[in-house]
């Protein structure tokens, strides 16, 4: 989850990024360490919320980069 928090922190700041990622993960019932499927699920769940702050295109770009860095392939 640290990598996801780092990616979101650029736009949202570390406090909001960490609280939001942990909050949404908890809502989805996900606990660290996350499996690859869980990571993908979490990224999908973060997309609409991030879009409220940076727009859909930038949100998708940020999360796509995380996908790649996590080795989940290029699937958005």
């Amino acid at each position: 989850m640290a990598l996801i928090v780092d990616a979101l922190a650029t736009d949202l700041g570390r406090t909001m990024a960490r609280a939001s990622v942990e909050g949404i993960a908890a809502r989805l019932g996900l606990k660290a360490p996350l499996t690859r499927d869980e990571q993908a699920t979490l990224l999908r769940a973060l997309s609409p919320g991030l879009a409220v702050f940076v727009g859909k295109a930038a949100a998708e770009q940020t999360l796509f980069e995380v996908h790649v860095r996590l080795g989940l392939g290029g699937v958005k």
Binding site: R27, G49, V52, V54, G55, K56
Partner: protein
């Protein structure tokens, strides 16, 4: 001219203008004001404020378009664009009276209608963005209900102190009601700003923080300008504070334009200018 020199020159010009306007309020008898009249200062303020409002309108509209219809933030940015457009229209009316016709605008005037509509739209936009942030599912910070109630109570008392003397003023009911509505709207806006401040606090360190901190400061300065204006309206001896009001509004509109520009940059990942050059 390189961007760095241009930035430095604009900064220096801004500082000079700030010093002249502040000086008019603090040391109105200074020698410089024998050469720089209030009329000239009003021209300068208008020449800064109007382009800032137009730029803010353009960028806020662009931000709304980039968010797209399905995004709840789009409505708020459309609202901020409308706020800046309405204030610009109000400026046109008031500047026409003050600078072209060289007489005070009647009360009420069409300018008041634009200003009041702008205020209502701005408050609506602040509420809309808070709802959008809440709907995001992200952790947007917490403000205790007690804190909000205490702040609202404090603001209400302060506004009541400002509005009460209006009741005993000469003039028609319409004029008195109009003079009371401005501080009342300022009060509502300040409560909305207090709630927005919690989001700004948790965004610290992120690029979105710059957008919302800048807009928060912009609207706060607009409210402060309005409240100071209300004071010198009732106490004629405070008329020299007009320069301070101009300064507050000028800074407010420049910051609003800056906030809208930053929001566009944030959505593009690069600055809008660069994006356009790249065909974006």
């Amino acid at each position: 001219m390189t961007a760095r020199i241009r930035k430095g020159a604009l900064g220096a010009l801004g500082l000079m203008l700030t010093a002249v306007l502040l000086g008019r309020a603090v040391v109105p008898t200074a020698a410089i004001y024998q050469f720089v009249s209030d009329y000239a200062l009003r021209w300068v303020s208008s020449l800064v404020e109007f382009p800032a409002l137009i730029a803010g309108f353009v960028y806020a509209r662009r931000a709304a378009e980039r968010f797209g219809d399905g995004n709840p933030a789009a409505r708020a940015w459309r609202g901020f664009a409308a706020w800046l457009a309405l204030i610009a229209l109000g400026q046109v009316v008031f500047s026409t009276y003050g600078l072209i016709l060289r007489r005070a605008a009647p009360l009420p005037s069409l300018g008041d209608a634009f200003y009041l509509a702008g205020y209502v739209v701005m408050i609506g936009s602040l509420i809309a963005i808070q709802r959008a942030h809440a709907q995001s599912g992200f952790t947007v910070g917490t403000t205790s209900k007690k804190g909000v109630v205490a702040f609202a109570l404090g603001v209400s008392l302060a506004i009541a102190a400002l509005v009460t003397p209006i009741a005993s003023m000469p003039g028609s009911v319409l004029v008195r009601a109009l003079n009371a509505v401005y501080p009342l709207l300022d009060g509502i806006a300040m409560i909305a700003l207090f709630v927005l401040a919690r989001t700004v606090r948790v965004l610290r360190g992120g690029r979105a923080w710059r957008v919302w901190a800048t807009l928060l400061l912009s609207i706060t300065l607009s409210c402060v300008g309005d409240i100071v204006f209300a004071q010198f309206y009732f106490h004629a001896k405070l008329s020299r504070l007009e320069a301070l009001v101009d300064l507050a509004f000028m800074a407010s509109y420049l910051l609003a334009a800056r906030a809208a520009y930053l929001q566009c940059s944030l959505m593009q990942g690069v600055t809008p200018t660069r994006a356009r050059n790249e065909g974006g």
